[in-house]
Symmetry: C2
Subunit: 299 residues, 2 copies
């Protein structure tokens, strides 16, 4: 993400450093668990979700540092979902970000438990004394509740169930949108909403953040589908062409490549338009640039 601003690069470094700090201390009694958690959490992910949390906190006038534990918690939830998603009983993927998936490296039982422990850690981090004293108990409760809802049955996990049940079936763009609104959209929306809550945003700002998130979230998924067709396995760090091999309905299979590109560009414009309510300045310029980068990313 070298085309992001220096300011955002600095936020990304803060996130990376904090994630490493937040992992539990070594303990010989269950060290493989901790290794497995660290293996997936510190694997060079793009950190888009925590970055959005910090940026929306800043857009609402808050200190991005105060949102750091919450952004990191969100990344832990995202990471655990990828570990569980790769398991043999789910997508059965051997590779993730150019390396063996967690269960290939640590075994299925440890991978399952590492995911479980990462979800618990996410909440422990948000509700810790040091995290709460910076934002106050009221905002900490609201933000953590937002993430808990987004991560659960009516959010991310529900979306995964729809995904599993539509495997091998031809599904409409409408069902794809419903599925993605939950599977990937819920966490991206939580990222932006948590930032607003922690930064003390108004109701109107929270609503604008949701509009930004739902557009950018869907665009993000469409770009994923496009890259599965147009990128190479080396560039992407995971097997390309897997959607077609699995006879999976995607925006590309349903709309065609060109229309999918048009739709993702349109959604990105709508996301940027939703930012109007936030004050102009460096932060907003950076968020606009981030949205544009996500639409043209190569991995």
């Amino acid at each position: 993400m070298s085309n992001l601003s220096q300011r955002q690069q600095k936020l990304l470094s803060m996130i990376e450093q904090k994630l490493a700090q937040l992992l539990p201390e070594e303990n010989e009694l269950y060290q493989p668990l901790l290794d497995s958690m660290g293996y997936s959490l510190l694997d060079g992910g793009k950190r888009i979700r925590p970055l959005l949390t910090l940026e929306f906190c800043a857009l609402c006038g808050g200190e991005p540092e105060n949102a750091l534990p919450f952004g990191c918690a969100l990344e832990m939830i995202h990471t655990y979902s990828l570990i569980h998603d790769d398991l043999p009983c789910m997508d059965d993927d051997d590779m993730r970000r150019g390396r063996p998936s967690n269960h290939k490296a640590y075994g299925e039982a440890t991978a399952l438990l590492a995911g479980d422990a990462l979800q618990a850690l996410a909440f422990a981090v948000m509700l810790s004394e040091s995290s709460v004293e910076k934002v106050g108990a009221e905002r900490a409760v609201q933000a953590a509740h937002c993430l808990a809802t987004a991560a659960g049955a009516s959010g991310m996990v529900g979306g995964q169930v729809i995904d599993l049940s539509s495997e091998g079936k031809k599904v409409s763009v409408g069902v794809l949108r419903q599925m993605d609104a939950l599977k990937t959209g819920a966490l991206i929306s939580a990222a932006c909403q948590m930032g607003c809550i922690l930064g003390g945003g108004t109701k109107a700002q929270l609503k604008a953040a949701q509009r930004f998130a739902s557009n950018i979230g869907l665009a993000f998924q469409i770009v994923d589908d496009i890259l599965d067709v147009t990128s190479t396995t080396e560039e992407l760090g995971k097997q390309v062409g897997s959607d077609r091999a699995n006879e999976k309905s995607t925006y590309v299979s349903e709309l065609g490549l060109e229309q999918a590109k048009v739709l993702s560009a349109q959604l990105t414009r709508e996301a940027i338009a939703a930012l109007e309510i936030f004050p102009s300045g460096e932060v907003k310029d950076d968020v606009v640039a981030l949205a544009q980068y996500l639409a043209v990313r190569k991995k």
Copy 2:
């Protein structure tokens, strides 16, 4: 648990009713997930952990009703851990409480995701507006943080990893105690501590609750080991003799049946002694009776 007081029976009914209410509303998009969550959450468990949360809230002078969402959250964490524990990559158990285990009824992928969603739901419930308005944001944060820590790597999940790594090995009573202190002890301790936090208990009361919990938690595990040898599959609702079949070290295999019984009785007495700090009365009498019941239970 028909030998418990009418007061405690009433608390148990409240817990049972609240658990059913807290499950997400029907949704045809991911109904199998919701069915799978309800199948395990509403399966006639003993509800000892939420009962302890309500009782310690009452012992500290709080309204047990205010602790209800927190006790139910704890039961959700306990339930998700059982679902994941039964999966083929873990203990591979086909039966749980006299019925097919969750993955036997709903398939592995749905069972995995139902566990994940139950963990998220636990936090959503504790941090919901209706739960927080009764106890205040400060106490809600402290109690939810207590549960998040107990459920994670340095608590329940860590204990499961120790359990897996000691499978087929002969381990000492010392290692068994360390493992159980995490695997089952952490949640039982969280149950009592959360009650104290929510009821506004003093530091000394919190400490006494921890002492009660660590003794009762270990006694509970020893009684489990005893029942695996002395009970029948029908009575217990799960396969007996499985510890010996799996060549698992237990308190019975390491200490012998008689010594194990002596130890569990001693621990129960120590647990009851820890209650001294709490005011005498109906609640305390009921907690003492509960501790005694747990030591002589038949399932």
